[in-house]
Structures are given as C-alpha cells and as structure tokens.
Amino acid sequence: MRELTNEIKAEIKDMIFDYYAEECEVEKSEINENTSLQDDLDSDSLMLVELIEMTAEKYDMDIKLQSIGKYMLKAPMNTMNDVIEMFYKVYQYGNDIIEQA
C-alpha cells in the first residue's frame, strides 16, 4: 500500500477538478465535491478511462480497468466526491482496490 499524504491528496483532487472542468467545459470554480457527474457535468465513461490513464502515467502505476470496474460495481460513481475517493484508493491500493469497496 502506498502512503497517501495530504500533499498527494490535494494533487489528486486538483487533477480531477482540472480534468473535468476542461473536458466538460465548465469553470473549475463551479465544481465541488457534491457535483453530480451525470446531471451537472454530463460526463461519460470514456472521460473516466482517460482520467485513469492520466493517473497511471502520472504516478507510474499499472492499473487494470477491470479492477476499477469491479470496484465501481460495489461503489458507484455518482458525485465528484465518489471519484476523488476512488482515486485516493487507486493511488493507495492499485489493482487491489476491489477489496476496498
């Protein structure tokens, strides 16, 4: 398990907000932890794939998409907070994230 420092947490959260703001063409300031991925941002699964790829590259990780998919079966992604929490776990546990749902 990798250590998730406050600095890394802030970095991940910032990366996620930046990404969705750009992809969904909204101001970053309009996004908060309660923002709905579907209703407020009209985001899709392909955006999530890209975010996973970005994260894997940024933190030099080998992440299988199916691991994330199985995690999401138990912990659906509805709000920005769900996404942030999931990426914290991805950073910490990698493909073992399934056991953290």
Partner: protein, 298 residues
Amino acid sequence: MYNRAFLFNGIGPKYEKLLAKLTPEMTEQYQAYYSKACEHLGLHKDIEKNHGYDAKIAEWLVPFVCDRVIFEKCIAQGILPDIGVGYSSGIVSATACFGSFPYEAAYDIVKTHRSMLIALDEQQVKLDTGIIVGFSYDDLLALLRSQFSEEELVIGSSNSSFHAMISGKAPAVEKAIELCTNEGALKAFRLGTGTAFHHEIMKQYSQEYIQYCHNVTYKDPKYPMLSVFDMSILDTAEKVAHENQINVYTQMRWDLALKELEKLGVKEFIDISANGSLSKLSRVKRGCRIYTFEDVCA
C-alpha cells in the same frame, strides 16, 4: 509518406447532436445538401414527417451529409488529407468524399438498408449491438468465447485498447452485457439497433446493399484509404469497391487501422464527425493528435 489522416464516422450518433455542432454557415450548406439528398431518395426533408422505414433512412442520411459539409470545409481551409479511413458506414462517406463514387451513390446505399430492415422485421430476427468499455480485445474475446459461439456473438469492432462494439443475436448481446459488467467493465450497454452490423449474419439480410456496392461504378479515389478490415492501402477503384462490398458483415479492427496509420507516419488525425465521436473512442500514440472539426473551424 503520410502525415494527415481523415477519419470518417458511421451511422450512430443521434442526428440532433450532430446538427447542433454545425456553424450557421455549415448548417445552411447542410440543409441545401440534405434537401437534395431527400429529393433524390423520395424522402421528406423534415425528418419527423417521414414514417416507418423512411424515418430511419432519413435519420441515417444525416451523418453522411454532415461528413460531406465538414469535409468540404476542411478542403476549403486548405486542410487536405494524405489518407482516409472510414468507421463502418464511414467507409461510404470516405468513398464519396474522396471522389470514388458520387455523393448520390452514398445516399442510395443508405436507402438500400431499407430492405435489410424489412427483412429483419418480416423474419422476426432479433439482433442487437452493444458497447463494452474497459476490456482489451484479447481479454474481451476470451471472455465472450467462453460463453458464446461466433454465430451468436462477435466483437463487431475493436475500437481501442479499452473500447469495443459487440454484435450478434439480441439475447446473446444482453447476456454479454451482464457478463462484462460483472467482470469489471467500466460501462457496458445495449445499443438497441435491431441490427448486427459487422457480424456475418448480416450478409443474408443485406443483399440489396451488397448488390448495389457491386453494381455502382467506382473511380480511383483522389486520396488513398486504409482498410479497417485488413489494414491494406486502398488506392484503386477495385480495392475501394471491395471495402464497401464487405462492409456490413465483416469484423472491423479500428484499433489496428489507427496503429497502421501511425506506422505509415500519420501524426494528425482529423475526426470528420460533427460531434467528435471518433476522437472519444480512439487512441493514438504520444506525438500524434486527433483533431475534431471544432479544432479545425476554430
């Protein structure tokens, strides 16, 4: 040497979404072409005023006309292709835009799908397609082959390392969606198309389409195309004809086609679709970039 590839999208995106993206100037051009196409096919230019199978044909016509408008916009701005590739019925668009047959032939081809829809309804054949996000081609193939025969279900198109379209008998598609979801797909859903494009079963229902593609006169394309079936270069009338003839019932490898274009030196991929749908499901290596028509028009 190739540097720039034009990517042509097929039938799929909702027509309202395509039209919403066009600029006023392009909308005007679109309306002029669409009216002529409808006149040619005996359809009403207001999609909603068509009924039954005609309504479907009128809808399916929209991406072809959008492609034409966007293609012409690119050419007018001096953005020329070195090569092109079509995704599914995007092959028909590419063929027309690259001058291998007239635009009217593309419209006629859309209309040949009418007899396919009628045959499927009359014989009460239940077919469908679906999208699976989160599996590589090999992983997905292994999973599907463990549960389904090729007669029931195939990967109609492998689009990227994580995105595929499955195609086959409706109950098999439904079961596969559930299976993939349980096995960790990020997203898996039925498209509810009522057809199974890129499955061999479509050959028997698409005889009018195949016959038309055999009979129409082709010219050598102005720009070469790449086959999404065997990744060969299509630079003669004969080769382009063959690509069109086998289109509806042959498995596509969009992922491999893009890789082949990269090998050929392509760095700039221009997504000709109005809503950038190809750029979303495609992946290209670092150093290459997919541009949407909004990038081009900006």
